[in-house]
Assembly symmetry: C2
Homo-oligomer: 156 residues x 2
């Protein structure tokens, strides 16, 4: 895969560099969809609840690939179809996403069931282990079903 | 403090709402500066390593205040000077920032000393406890000295 040449960061602080690499919130939403919703295709991401614009989605998938967070594989059954998958670097974002989820559910009015969030906050390690297991085993069942699953009807 | 009326979010997902509330990366860098660097004043933030533009800094401080993440207090010694401080909601971002720091230090070339990051990754709970203690006690000593402390020379 083509890799972007090392760019100049505004500082050497790892928090800053993480945020620069991730870019804006759309990238993290795509990572979320891959991680806990079982989304794999452009069409899946396009129909996520936030209604990302097609041109932004294309750009963010390209950036995530260049950053080594996402890879694309040709579908075995349909070579025109790309299936996206998190890399090891991508799945390593699980703890940060989990903490953003717990923070949002605690401090903002969200659609997340309070009991589900409380259970997740009590068992962070178990949730992260299961997230990683599903990624490793290519288990496409949505980890957080209340977030919604993929809409594309193709078997997987 | 004036609060922004509840806005419409693109979805009820708590990760999406967290990212919408936080906005772009500049907001999280200001939270970082308050949390682990002992920064308190406009001048402190302005001179952080990322060289944030003055107009962006003003705007992000305003948004963080409206979101209830930051409060501003008048300096006891100089009423023209505002001192910023994280709220409870703001300090609750510590776990998410910590995970972003560990992720960046693991997967990107950063200026963070590898031994310091390894120690932090091994003792997340202790680091978070100390972060919260310093916030509660208004202890301004930088938690991560290798990130740099405030440059303003005024005593605190």
């Amino acid at each position: 895969m083509a890799r972007r040449p090392i760019t100049t960061h505004r500082s050497g602080c790892p928090i800053n560099i993480s945020l620069e690499v991730l870019g804006d919130r759309w990238s993290l939403l795509i990572v979320r969809d891959l991680m806990v919703r079982g989304f794999q295709t452009f069409r899946d991401f396009e129909h996520a609840g936030e209604r990302i614009a097609t041109n932004i989605l294309s750009d963010r998938l390209r950036r995530l690939s260049l950053a080594g967070i996402v890879t694309a594989e040709r579908d075995a059954a349909d070579a025109r179809q790309k299936r996206y998958r998190l890399t090891e670097k991508g799945i390593d974002l699980a703890p940060a996403l989990l903490e953003l989820m717990i923070w949002g559910a605690k401090h903002e009015k969200t659609g997340a069931p309070a009991t589900a969030i409380a259970r997740i906050a009590r068992s962070r390690a178990a949730v992260l282990n299961e997230t990683r297991r599903r990624w490793k085993d290519r288990d496409p069942r949505p980890l957080l079903p209340w977030l919604g699953g993929p809409r594309s009807s193709r078997g997987r």
